[in-house]
Amino acid sequence: MSEKFSRRDFLKLAGVGAATSAILTGCGPASRYVKREPYMQMPEYNYNGQSTYYATTCRECAAGCGLIVRTVQGRAIKTEGNAGNPLNLGKTCARGQATLHGLYNPDRVQEPLKRSARGGDSTQAMDWDAAIQVVADALKNNKPEEIAFLMGMAPDHLFDLVSDLAKATGMNAPLRFGALGMFEARATLSKAAENLFGEASLPFFDVGGAQVVFSFGANFLETWLSPVSYTRGFAGLREAKTKMRGKFVQFESRMSQTGGKADEWIPLRPGTEALVALAIGKLASEIRGGAMPRAFENVDPIDAASKSGIKLETLEHLAGMFAGSNGALAIPGGPALGQSNGLAVAEAVLALNAISDNFGKPGGVYLSALAPNQSEYQRPASAQEMQEFVQKMADGKIKVLFVHGVNPLFELPTALGFGGASKSVSQIISFATFPDETAREADYVFPDHHGLESWGYQRVATGSAQPVLSGAQPVVSPYYNTRATADVLIAAAQLAGGSFASALPFKDEVEFLHGKVSALMGEVDGSISAPDLPTFMAYFQQHGGYWRNSDERVAPKAGDALNREISAEVAEFAGEGEFFFVPFVSPTLAEAGANKPWLQELPDPTTTVMWNTWVEMNPETAHELGIENDDVVRIVSEAGELEVPVYLYPAIRPDTIAIPFGQGHTAYGRYAENRGVNPADLLGQHFNEAGDLAFAGMKVKVEKTGAKKPLSRLESMMGVYGIGLGEEH
């Protein structure tokens, strides 16, 4: 042994010995495995080990909640609501909390990419100069009308930039779309406001000030318009500080998270919302006395009761409740609007408010305040407008498509044919931060920063009494080799020259922002004021935006809201099948949360399911069909089919099934990919009068497949449903 034992072996052995004794003694060498890098230049007001807080705007949805992000040594650690921002007053929803899992998501697009073939995995990295050249060429070498921008509902500053560019060059005006907007039926709401009040604006419902709230499908505690603000309103409704505890009634065919909080949950037959609203209006008017308003004249409550499946006594009791309160409020929303008669539903329910005469009063209906730098309400594209756009693409009228902040291949119903139409577009350039489905079908991906690394602003469309412009600033320096899309466009426009260059005569995104925000400097009533632009911008960033101090909600002019015919027709349903189909947005995932692992791990508020999609089915119906929990069933609609495990949901009509939207990605990172199904695959091309998709206007068939897929639930099936406990005593 001894002659073969070299010095090298000895050292090796000594190393093993050192490691072993290190493990055993648990001290000493730990320091050797750590390296510390000092700052090159310590940022101002920073100390090692101490947190720095930055105000910015949440980009998880378009509501525009203000955030305060805690950073330590250049890493973002925690998001909190910005207590100064009048919209969310220091609060956030779950998605706002989990935005950090987007920032530090392991699957972000890390650098500009050129894709070898659309839909393929093979990509080549590019540098940004080349990327900007590609964008510049795309702008320069195509006719302006052949260039289109498809954008998400956030951020607004980029939308403004592109709008300016489009206006100056004759490009197509940027089109904004988001699945949230589609499921909220924003177009229907604003159209109804236009029809009733003469102003196409987004109504705001002061839930907090009301005494009785009737909600027709509005899932305002989940994803609807501005959930944080509406949740605060709901707390105000319930808190018995200055008034009685407010009552809340929800009309819907499937109990949503919002419906779960209702004192009375009324499972009406889908499509009869308008009828029921008008019937309640008629009964309530009768109780109140006086002349019967024209809107309610032709409704027969008995007919309404039989068609909707609600007992007449219940209708009368509800009408009494509505009429008996001087703070009654009726809200239309959600699936009730996503039907062929959605506009009538919106009008009927809005008209109901005329009974309690609450327009422009506390606890009533307002039109949302416009943001400080906004002149009129700009709503995102409705599904019908998207369909027209897709048609344009398919016709080859679009040569270059820029996509930012939206994932149409996932968010648009498959039936609209975006995937097919995109083949007729010769160049698709995506600015996606994450490798989503659309980025996968794009020729180039030029990743934008994550929202927390970005400059910008977001106009608060609704939810706050005060006009709010939420400001965004980078809270950490970009983690990857990404670049702000605004910067890319500005640089590319300079390179493209001509009207492009003159449309965006800015050094960079920040200069553009300064230009936009500086208009507010002179205002008297603002939350911040400063004598010069740098100071003003510093305040703007420090406080997370700019808001006026006054309540600028508009009282709707509703003089003759009741003095018009409102259709009481029951909605038409497309397709053949025994089940009404209700797709709803997952309250925790929404349209873009599926790639954040902690959002996946959050139990759904109603079913407590994690990490998957399910279909909700009434236990009685399922029993008749021989279906049990976790059985995989095939749902067939006229537009498509999908297979999904069953959740026996006790609070859904026997003739209705519901599937959450948010999963079913085929790209979008390791946590989202190949998980669950996308109910948008089932939706056909049917629209309501306002152009919104009639997403809740389908009938579907359910077939057993024989397979089983256990759903991950937080709840206990034994403890909550008594399943598996043994038969009753």
Binding site: L714, E715, S716, M718, G719, V720, G724, L725, G726, E727, H729
Partner: protein, 483 residues
Amino acid sequence: MAYDKKHSEHAPSGQHGGHSEEYLREKHLMLDPLPRGQMNDMVMESMLAKPTWKFWVVASLLAAIVAYGLFYSWGRMIAEGLGIAGVNRPSYWGIFLVNTVFWIGISHAGTFISAILRVFRAEFRRPFTRAAELMTTFGLVQAGFSIFMHMGRVWLAYWLMPYPNQRMIWPNLHSPLTWDLLAITTYLLSSTMYLFLPLIPDVAMARDRSTGWRKTFYKTLALGFRGTEGEWTHLRNAMNIFAFAIIPVMFSVHTIVSWDFAAATRPGWSSTIFGPYFIVGALHSGMGAAIAVLAVIRATMKHMDYFIRGEHFDAIGKLMLIISMAWAYFFFNDYMVQWYGGDVWTKQLLHFHEAGPMGWMWFAMLICNIVIPWAILWNPKWRATPWLVATVGIIINVGMWFERYIIVPISLSINRMPFTWRLYQPGVEIPLGIGTLAFFILLYMIASKIIPLIPVWEVQEGQMAHELKKFGRETVVSVSELE
């Protein structure tokens, strides 16, 4: 103390008055003496018999199971975490604790047979005290494995030992687990001592009859025992002290194990009767295991049919019957009081035991622990049939394992927070559990090859004390007081 031969009055054999001397000799080991030298040789032969190929096959199979089931699986669990086992919320304890209680239960038979029967001078105990004491020690080893396996960070297990340290922290004496650890350690040490003491004369015997490494081995173990009067006196004193002292230890150990459950604030667990209930349960499974082991020894080893006879199975069978009745009593008592208490969660739990998805196990437990023993063990003829009693013993063990399974993971499924109720599905616990069983058997197989399984001196001592006497036409057994 020298032998003090006093003639007792008609000792336990009065009822056999009608039988012939031959019959009595054939039936009773104590009345069937063989020359000392021959008996010693028989024991040595049974131990030294060259292992058959079957022995090697079984041993290597067991070794493979131990290597995979116990050591590899445990290593994997240490490296990856308890996630590969089936434990979850709310069943934080699973089969690990079932096995711990089970093996501690098994270990009770040894002490019971050897110490209690020794103290009460039950003569039939003589040939199999060693076999039973080995069960105690080997069973405790498996219990130790099971409890350490269940720890999330087993490499820090030494923190549970009271030792002075710079952190100024001692183990928490409020915790039943601390008592548990102390009790089991005490039991392991004392039962090992108690195994060793009666072994000394036998290894001394073996030392005188062996060569090679065995000679060295036995020489070391025998501690120079030569069999002088003085040595015997000391040995007897020591054994006496241990026999008396270990009985309370044995009772306390399983009582303390039961306190792991009884001291907790859980429905179904916090039951005041758990202490004696667990002890009886331990004896139940222990006796069952002991009789199964005896049957195997008798069937597989040379000359064992001389030492272990129907009378032994008969005697243990009677004990088993009694213990089964006692167990049934305690079970009923526990159930009754819990049910009568009327606590809503406890009632839910009792219902879950019977009617839940694992309800079959509850009924199987009752059948294995009560119905089958009662149905079979009442019959003296069946009781004396080794394979039958051994089968009953194994069935009782299955039943007792079920009982512990019902107490640990199934009872844990139901708590005061219905939102968290959940069933338990074992994962890597199964190879680990089988590994401990295999290790137990393997240890026994190895022991049978290196330790005299029959305490020869004890048998000889008994045979010396027994005598057949004739009073007229009556043949009676007389037993002399030994000490």
